[in-house]
């Protein structure tokens, strides 16, 4: 009875389908996390400018994205745009857009808090030494802010990977959905398959997120010295 469940994983195309699902999850995560890091850094720097218009716009953008559940944003991008404007995005494109919008907002706020946590005198000393604005950020502020940024940014990245499981609601079949399809297809012939499939998914998620944690630890250790 016990080997019955795990057998399902190796039947036909099941294993390959699960890995293809993982590929969708990873592709979506990698694209959106990288884009969010770049755009989020720019957004965070914009947020520290004391320009009232910029401040208002970034603030409203951040609050809007924060208040809206990701699922609602996905529905707006996929169904809402088609309905209101006739724009027909593919599910994957809609997901990429929503995740970048979300990631940029959250990342921007993290960058902002890291930047303002650098003491004033660092900015002033830099300026006094004759650094230009760009040099100041490049050589003094960003390297320090980056260290404070790593732990919360890792948190955000893993959260984004987990949240990719929502995209099935706009028709993008990713790993978790493939798992459920396999479980349901074998509901009557191998009821114990659920445990094995979810176990496999757990490990695949774990090995997707673990390298991030390892890299973060490695960086933190190196910078401590």
């Amino acid at each position: 009875m016990q080997d019955l469940g795990i057998r399902v994983l190796f039947e036909g195309e099941n294993g390959i389908r699960l890995l293809l699902g993982l590929l969708v999850t990873i592709k979506l995560s990698v694209i959106t996390i990288i884009a969010s890091c770049i755009l989020g850094t720019i957004m965070g720097m914009l947020m520290t400018l004391r320009h009232p218009a910029v401040h208002f716009i970034t603030r409203i953008y951040l609050e809007f994205i924060r208040i809206m559940p990701q699922l609602v944003l996905l529905f707006i991008a996929y169904f809402g745009l088609t309905r209101a404007a006739g724009i027909n995005l593919s599910g994957f494109t809609a997901a990429v857009i929503v995740f970048i919008l979300w990631g940029t907002a959250e990342m921007g706020d993290l960058v902002r808090s890291a930047l303002i946590s650098i003491p004033r005198n660092q900015y002033e000393s830099g300026a006094a030494l004759g650094f230009s604005k760009i040099q100041l950020y490049r050589f003094i502020i960003l390297p320090q802010a980056l260290r404070r940024l790593i732990p919360p940014a890792m948190n955000l990245a893993t959260r984004m990977i987990m949240t990719t499981s929502l995209v099935v609601l706009i028709g993008v079949v990713e790993m978790l959905k493939v798992g459920q399809q396999i479980i349901e297809a074998n509901r009557y012939t191998a009821p114990t398959a659920a445990l094995w499939i979810y176990g496999a998914i757990f490990f695949l998620y774990f090995f997707s997120c673990w390298p991030l944690t390892l890299a973060a630890n490695c960086l933190e250790k190196r910078w401590k010295e």
Binding site: R17, F64, R83, G171, A185, R187, Y188
Partner: protein, 293 residues
């Protein structure tokens, strides 16, 4: 001051967003009636457009065995899919299946992202306002499962006895309304109800007949004594509101298929392996769109 201004701005934005969406919906309703050419706008595809494109897009479940699921080779299978394949064949086009969820079935149709929904879609008046249903091809009613030793074969036998139901199901409302002298034992989840029945905390358990029939088959010592009870709900294909050509095509096809007993064949291929001989196909299958009680 700044904070108050911010809230005002947010409120204004929310109102604008709401207006845009409401406007979008209204426009759609207004244009739907004459839109059959659909030039990239939010519309459905007409019968001709589907035929010309050589592909019909059908929304089905991908994780609801045995109605719509994916087999180990990665192909769509099931009772709904069997019908979908036939529809495509009669249309003379290829079929492309899209995996849908209960929560987004209506949206998929309304935005024209699929042509037909064949996802175990129960016909209700509320849904009929949003989509157009074709003739039914299946029906569900309540079933009552009980231990072989004390088999319940008619609802009158339940008087004064304890019936297990799941909260929020049609079984709960049906028995409360029509059989007030049956004691109901209510649970939140399906697994709890089955466990309660096995533990003998109730005399019988009632929910959708498809559900109890499949369960009784896997659990020795229990039989579905009442296979069809209460108001029969029908399950039908759905198309975009106003897509009359496609709707007529599906309805005509269903009537034609009755001649060859198509849905009984469908039942034999997809449902019989699960339900076995415990159930008569006529409890579930609707042939030619005519529901016989």
């Amino acid at each position: 001051m700044r904070i108050r201004k911010l809230y005002l701005l947010l409120a204004a934005l929310a109102i604008i967003a709401a207006a845009v969406f409401a406007g979008g919906c209204k426009n759609e309703a207004a244009t739907d009636s004459q839109q059959s050419t659909g030039s990239g706008e939010t519309a459905f595809r007409s019968l001709d457009e589907i035929k010309k494109s050589g592909e019909v897009i059908v929304g089905v479940f991908s994780d609801k065995a045995p109605f719509g699921y994916i087999d180990k080779e990665g192909n769509y299978q099931g009772y709904d899919v069997y019908f979908g394949n036939r529809l495509a064949k009669d249309l003379g086009v290829k079929v492309k299946y899209v995996s849908v969820e209960p929560a987004n079935r209506v949206e998929y149709l309304k935005t024209g992202k699929v042509d037909i929904i064949l996802a175990n879609f129960t016909v209700t008046p509320e849904r009929a306002e949003q989509v157009d249903f074709a003739l039914p091809y299946m029906k569900v009613a309540l079933g009552v499962v009980s231990p072989d030793g004390a088999l319940i074969t008619s609802p009158d036998q339940l008087k004064g006895k304890t019936l297990i139901v799941a909260k929020g199901t049609t079984a709960e409302t049906y028995f409360t309304k029509h059989y007030p002298d049956v004691n109901l034992l209510k649970f939140d989840q399906y697994t709890e109800t089955y466990n309660a029945l096995v533990d003998g905390r109730g005399d019988a358990f009632s929910t959708d007949n498809t559900e109890v029939l499949a369960w009784a088959l896997k659990n020795k010592g229990f039989t579905v004594g009442i296979t069809s009870l209460g108001d029969t709900d029908t399950i039908a294909a759905a198309v975009h509101k106003g897509n009359k050509e496609l709707l007529d095509f599906i309805n005509d096809d269903i009537k034609k298929l009755a001649g060859e007993n198509f849905f009984h064949k469908d039942y034999e291929e997809t449902l019989a392996p699960v339900y076995g001989t415990a159930v008569s196909p006529d409890d579930l299958v609707v042939e030619g769109g005519e529901v016989k009680k």
